[in-house]
Symmetry: C2
Subunit: 142 residues, 2 copies
């Protein structure tokens, strides 16, 4: 199995400094700052990256699970919302909410909901954050 | 505190299908596939995104911690290596290794190592994965 590499550089102080991040694939990278993380400045931040990891992992995993069920999907769309709260210990990622819309002919809603819930708990990125971040799901067939 | 949003779409089967992901900031997005995740095809994957989240979060957090110590850094560079292993439960993110190089005039190595170790355990993305993914660190002053 592969090991995947990314890196980040931060120069300067927390509030006035500036950061850059990049992934080894060459398809990922950009600037970030206190303002892009905790404010509304344009740019990415670790929570958006974590949400992207979860959305990408979940969509792929749900597709695989529906296929193994004999009811393959033609499309899985997942929106991931990653909420950060200020707690006594510091800024904490508290919730990852998945809103999932799926086209999968021939599956009942009951069977779909069970598979979606199992994937929410079982996909690799979900398992990387479970117990620390509350995973929520709103899944529907289209 | 903000909630950050990303999304992903997967079309087709697990091995033959294709995915796209994007973040709401508009600075993040691309294609992914079984080949970019588990093989060597060019493109990102959830583990690279998770590594980017960790590297970005850790670099920023260590800068803040060194500043609070009265020994601000001018540069923090963090490489994050995210390892996936095939386990009985499925593909599992087992280790996130951080290689950290820091310019911070006036701090002893002993104090630096303590702050780096505390940041490895305490930054928000580290806390999101802790207990599930082994966090390792190799930190040095430059």
């Amino acid at each position: 199995m592969p090991t995947r590499h990314s890196s980040a550089v931060w120069e300067g102080t927390l509030r006035e400094g500036k950061g850059t991040y990049s992934g080894e694939s060459g398809t990922l990278g950009g600037k970030y700052s206190f303002g892009t993380r905790f404010g509304d400045e344009k740019g990415s931040n670790p929570e958006e990256l974590l949400a992207a990891a979860e959305a990408a992992c979940f969509s792929m995993a749900l597709s695989g699970a529906l296929e193994r069920n004999g009811t393959p999907s033609t499309r899985v769309e997942t929106a991931a919302a990653c909420t950060v709260e200020k707690q006594e210990i510091g800024f904490t990622v508290t919730t990852m909410k998945l809103t999932v819309r799926v086209t999968a002919p021939g599956i009942t809603n009951e069977a779909f909901q069970a598979i979606a819930a199992a994937t929410k708990d079982g996909c690799p990125i979900s398992r990387a954050i479970k117990g620390n971040v509350a995973l929520e799901i709103d899944a529907a067939l289209e």
